[in-house]
Symmetry: C2
Subunit: 372 residues, 2 copies
């Protein structure tokens, strides 16, 4: 592979002139420039990014450590991050933590060793040594989605509290009184926040949240299934279950089906995180949608601001309730829905019903959709 020396020799100039030409330095004569460019062409020269990084101490690379690539929410977050980063001249290395703290640490370590310019983390657990080390290190860090209390680091995330309250109101309006939740790990902010928002929503309606109605999950499908199994084994099972992420909702749905029960006739189900598939599940799932793309873009902009020495502020965007049929709402007239995934304006909005029609709130009771 040709190096800058080869190019210099071929063009009859010094390596300095080659470097200057390629980096657009002003004082290079037209003659030298054309000869260099010709040599570059002839030798198919490409600068060695490794050598360049060593010298300039910049890799033009961002690290992104996410909790679980198989979760469509994080996948689309990752896509948005990569998109925005590329637009701004950066590459992204994704590390998948699979919700395992030690894997998360492994990735942070590796990324730091590679001298990435900045790090985006969605911490799988609250207080891993490596996360703290990263924050103390000179490498700029921005947290996405989940954050760590007590650290002075910009956080880009969605606030789901209003949407969770909307959901509780929705369930209450449909006549549900025994509401349960399948949570994520308490060590994640998204885990604990969603429970507390749910609890405060319930208390606004004077409803209790008994311990037995709190299923401990880990954001993976299997844990959602187990939690639902336990709910169903209760002497008095809940009438509605809120899963704190989409994979646990999938697992819960599995468990419900395994028991031969129907949604929403026998039990209502709703999820945090909206994904395109929820439109086509049986039944379509009511969910809380996060502005994924906006979050990813904002996170990258904040990180690059810090890399370039500009100040970066935390960003919080609202999440939004998307009502479908899984809680007992009468089926809206079938109509096309955009395929680009859950639409999500950056401005706050109240709960929306899928079809865009007005939402007949308060129409309680099971929905007899089985009559065609």
């Amino acid at each position: 592979m040709a190096s800058i020396k080869d190019v210099a020799a071929h063009a009859g100039v010094s390596v300095a002139t080659v470097s200057r030409t390629l980096n657009g330095h002003p004082s290079v004569s037209p003659g030298a420039r054309t000869r260099v460019l010709a040599a570059v062409e002839a030798l198919e020269y490409r600068p060695n990014a490794v050598a360049r990084s060593l010298r300039t101490d910049q890799t033009h690379t961002l690290g992104l450590v996410i909790s679980d690539v198989l979760n469509p929410y994080f996948t689309s977050l990752a896509r948005a991050v990569e998109e925005e980063a590329r637009a701004l001249g950066y590459s992204v290395i994704i590390g998948n933590a699979d919700e395992r703290p030690e894997l998360q640490d492994h990735h942070i370590r590796t990324l730091l060793d590679r001298r990435i310019d900045g790090l985006l983390v969605s911490p799988a657990d609250g207080r891993s040594p490596l996360t703290l080390e990263a924050v103390r290190s000179p490498t700029p860090v921005v947290l996405v989605d989940r954050w760590l209390p007590g650290l002075d680091v910009p956080v880009v995330r969605a606030d789901g509290r209003v949407a969770v309250h909307d959901l509780v109101a929705h369930l209450h309006g449909l006549g549900h009184r025994r509401l349960a939740i399948i949570t994520g790990p308490a060590s994640t902010t998204t885990g604990s926040e969603r429970v507390s928002a749910f609890r405060s929503g319930l208390s606004a309606f004077g409803l209790p949240l008994p311990e037995a109605y709190i299923g401990q999950g880990d954001f993976q499908a299997e844990s959602g299934r187990r939690a639902m199994e336990r709910f169903l084994a209760l002497p008095e099972p809940p009438g509605a279950v809120f899963a704190a992420d989409n994979l646990m909702a999938l697992g819960a749905l599995d468990a419900i089906r395994a028991h031969g029960l129907r949604v929403p006739e026998d039990i209502a189900l709703a999820a945090f995180d909206d994904i395109p598939w929820f439109v086509h599940t049986d039944p379509p799932l009511t969910a809380i949608a996060q502005p994924t793309d906006e979050l990813g873009r904002a996170a990258v902009r904040a990180l690059i601001a810090r890399i370039e020495g500009r100040p970066a502020r935390s960003v919080t965007l609202p999440a939004r309730l998307v009502v479908r049929r899984s809680c007992g709402e009468p089926a809206p007239p079938a109509g096309p829905e955009p395929l680009t995934g859950p639409a999500m304006p950056a401005v706050p909005a109240g709960p929306v019903s899928e079809s865009g029609g007005t939402q007949p709130h308060g129409t309680a009771g099971p929905d007899p959709r089985s009559t065609p």
Copy 2:
């Protein structure tokens, strides 16, 4: 950030001794070793991977360019690749081409510039200049999922021909005679292969494949929707549609629903690529499952073999038909299904029905599943 020089100074030895200690070179005295290790500890020294790569000409990094991260098939492929690579001491940089050739080229270029040790590509289009350049370059390349005819590069992929034939037999057995397909771009092997397998399956049953029953798609949901729209506008619409990937199936489902039609009563639907969500769509979708994990692992092993100078062979694993209800099969008794995604043994197997029970082949006619 502490460098090897700082460590050497702190330990009172030369940089050579530090390097030898850290790389496990035998001739380092116990005294020097402990002092070096203590200095490393004290300074929280971490070797600079960039400098190391420059010197050793190894980055211990693989590049993976996939066609679309938002497609669950590629996501799980990427996960398997990362998993296996990590186990073997490599990191992975993922480039998402979004099915756009120019983006694919951008990523290949960037990865090559970073001097990754090897490249895994699932080519978004047949003949991009950068793919060819990569193949000619000294960097080992292995193709995954899709391949490029006429290139001497190892290919790791699934062969779906048998499964497609099984699918046609399944549809035929259920009484379907007007079968249509929504294909991927003809420039991808997976695009053209799936059509030709479908066509040959049809001809085995003496069925035609009229031009109007071939919908041109691009592996994205929106194209699946458009193709289905066109089918439904035909004077004689098909009775069963086979989508060549899961996203186009999602789009097709959208279109069907928008027209107020039901699956499978009004039209049957099947897809290539099985994903966990297909169990819970309405109705559960019959699909052809690829052994994603195995593919990812095999691809990494082949690539690393080439990196280490060993020969690598192409690998072809069988895909498998998973029967659910979307083609009119009577509903199997509800039962739990493993959550780990479509189970996929590496050994060939005939079509399976979801519940694990034997499959009542030949039970033709639309399935009146609406009676609970």
